[in-house]
Symmetry: D2
Subunit: 301 residues, 4 copies
């Protein structure tokens, strides 16, 4: 019954890199937080404190910043593939590299009807995410790319009901035929290919998620999530699987009857905690095994 070292990894988390393209007067901006994680032949560092095979996390940071110029920082998926490939291909002890990225969107300030060349306001809506894993070398090298978003806060003020549910001795909830449904959506989608127009894919998938949330008459958040996921898979042949995690941000109808005031689904208390939390996966039944695609390092879906 020996004690052994199990799975382990290390890296530099949350490098906050801003990349400006300024080749013309109309600048472009890309603003990310990137984390790197390496797996490989690092047992000696744990067991004996021997660092001779350990590339410092500081070096991983330097590389991440330098690649923003050397390789460019346009699509986060491409940037992540470059970075992961570098560690696996050029750092001998590395078996697997995982790159997790959050991207913060900016929109141009509009002045007198025109977009400004070099001034932006942070959009502040959802955060776009990517998680890239590259494993092995040469012919056996494999790659997984997961795109996603988090904190997309959406709400519909009608078109949602919750009835016909199971009862037990602790069930007090009343059914409702018309409620506010709101969530702060986290989603991750696993690509079945790397030959993808990453920017177009992101916009398309986000739009499908919003569209389904709006148009599906909801009988439960479970059903809405499934319809959102299914529509993405139907429209995007390059997606193998999508995972959705959705807190049910409860909006409780406020009882104004003691004051003689009628409240017909007009005034709500937006509660913080507790909240329902629904998680679902939708996938192609012949999707390849996910491998380490979802093996989160810093908490991305």
């Amino acid at each position: 019954m020996a004690i052994v070292l199990g799975p382990n990894r290390y890296g530099k988390a949350e490098n906050r890199i801003v990349r400006i393209y300024r080749d013309t007067p109309r600048h472009e901006i890309h603003d990310i937080s990137v984390s790197t994680a390496l797996r490989g032949d690092f047992a000696a560092a744990h067991l004996a404190g021997d660092q001779s095979l350990v590339l410092p996390t500081d070096t991983q940071k330097q590389t991440a910043y330098s690649f923003a110029k050397e390789k460019g920082l346009l699509s986060i998926e491409t940037y992540g593939l470059d970075l992961a490939g570098h560690f696996v291909d050029h750092v001998e002890p590395v078996q697997t590299a995982r790159i997790e990225i959050e991207e913060f969107a900016w929109e141009r300030v509009v002045i007198d009807g025109s977009e400004h060349d070099h001034t932006w306001v942070r959009r502040g809506q959802e955060v776009r995410t990517a998680a890239i894993t590259v494993d092995g070398s040469g012919q056996d090298q494999r790659t997984w790319v997961v795109g996603g978003l988090k904190d997309l806060v959406i709400l519909k003020s009608t078109g949602s009901e919750f009835t016909g549910f199971m009862h037990d001795e602790y069930t007090l909830l009343e059914p409702t035929g018309d409620r506010v449904m709101a969530t702060s959506l986290d989603a991750g989608w696993r690509f079945s290919s790397t030959d993808v127009d990453w920017e177009a894919a992101y916009l398309q998938i986000k739009q499908i998620l919003l569209r389904q949330f709006a148009l599906v008459h909801s009988l439960a958040l479970q059903q809405t999530l499934y319809e959102m996921g299914k529509a993405v898979l139907e429209a995007c042949p390059f997606i193998a699987e999508i995972r959705l995690s959705a807190p049910n941000k409860h909006h409780f109808l406020y009882d104004l009857s003691p004051f003689g005031v009628e409240n017909t689904n007009e005034v709500f208390h937006a509660a913080d905690r507790p909240y329902g939390l629904i998680q679902a996966t939708v996938l192609h039944d012949d999707a390849e095994d996910a491998g380490p695609a979802w093996d989160s390092y810093t908490g991305l879906v």
Copy 2:
């Protein structure tokens, strides 16, 4: 040398109220956090634990929710005036009421080119704020309204320099003729009247702030803030004073020269802490005294 009770107030903070207008199929949504604070004849509660003149904070909450229907919740300034006036006029021991409000903006989901009737995505950009103070009764009643915004994150990738500054023995900073300037702006503006189109005023002021940030060639954040404030006062005769608080969110040029990579203002590290913090007031020299207008309860500018 007696020990005495000094200034005091109490209320209910951060009531999270969502108000839906659903009189037509095209719903409207207003989403706020409102805090109420009362000053007045409350010494007995402190000195003797006598609550007979204390209107519970729970009652203040109930009133805030009910007023969202009774009085409506369209402009937060109007809603705040209704609520503050109620406490001062109808609760005998109350001498002064202060209402602080944060509003979270939503935008309609667009589907096939059309805005959806009842589905929104939270904009997530700046938070709009208001602080309303009503003091006294009858003829002597006075009112102060401060509008504002917080967390408006803006950045310009050129058009900003910082040179010619003072030196002492601790000064290491090098001057720069071209830097990234970014901030997360908090602003509050004091109205000189309550006869204002609150919605138009908000949009106008925000637009002026953005415009000046973009167009003023910046010699320092101090100068930019002053130009922003001055332009608001010039354009808005109904504003007596504006206060601006702006962290200098440092973007440090990353040194890639050890790797033989040129970095001509293209790759930056976005630092968290420390940060410069610049605060300035711009006002009309004949502005009335601000009284309690800026006497923050929960931390609004």
Copy 3:
């Protein structure tokens, strides 16, 4: 190539329950955040919006609160086992229940040398955690218990070095023979039994982790983590596996030489981001398979 529903679960997250024992004048307090998640026969809810097999998340909440009285709330592991067992055993469609708990410790206020009977100050140090999973029914029922802690912030001001590491073309870091080492430790330990004195185990494991952090001369955070985990396994035969996640909270020696001030490891800048992040598992080589023990719902290690 059909589209299918994959793994899914739902529950009520972050129920904030405070349980007071007041059978004698010397009260006791237990303060938790508990999340429940159910897996089972819920495909109809997703595919057809049919809730007839869905026990509402509100019911899960009611149960969690009621069990704090019915079953008691002393050790969070026991409470979690009661709750998970209830859902699996008494709610027909439930195949697997997972309960995740965070516990916030309070210590008695000491007055004139004596602990007060019913007044506490929140300790504010680490958060204790537990994740209980119960799967299946009858003879085949299986149970996994993971205890843990998070946000244990520890620092040593000497006894840590980092030298002899690998170099590549992006390596700028200088070796150091004496540095500050600090982390905010998250740890989870998987029990091999449920016949455990949970309170004693928690205190013992926390103490071992602190002891090893202090006493091991550190050649790298990797080595320290391994020694911490190994010592836990050696001392606690009821632990099968421990997982550690440790941000390297960098304390950078501040360069005061421009001011003619010597700084011999005395003044540091405590940086926020980026940070190294080291994750390691230590386990018995004959440990049973972990099954769903680590399948986090709300982000616990």
Copy 4:
């Protein structure tokens, strides 16, 4: 009706400085976040972008770090006085300097009954604060010191009632003769002198606050706060004024009666928002005017 520059200041906020004393094997640690703010002759920077009288915020940072060695960092009040005095006395355009400090306490790890020499765990309880203001030069120089704490989370499970309060048409609250009272206390105390044993004063005041919270039978949070403040003033002749800000962290008795479970003040829901918020000042009636003592820069009480 000219537009003019009003009050303004600038500085470097949230410098995260850790100071280790290591003159003997038994090290000491002081861990702070310090913010500096300067007022003075800075109009040209705002009006004309002229920086010639502006000492960069970077220089203020360098000074703060260097003073942690040059002057030492033991009591934060003393450190703050050194720093504020430096800016006023040695930087010509500075009229007023304000230093705001948060201190994070660490306690030694105890191993085999002995405190370790150089390993600590962060206490994590309240944050100690100080705000030092120095104005003017030479004979006319004046100094204000405010000590304080924030986020001291305290709870009593009995000995608190709330009855006999005022009613209006929105009052639904029921009186209670026995409730949980909890708060996250923020407090600031203004010293009437700088000839104070700062460390002893802090411990004494914190202990008095805890003692009164525990021992006073509470008829309302207002009364408790007043008794806490009064006791501090009675015991500490060097305190002129104390300000207390206390959210009423509601613990709602959970209704278990639908399940046939009795709940005699044993199971509570700890709510997040909204919360009552009580603020009170207790002072000597002949206290000197507070001047700028409470003019917060970064939000300290």
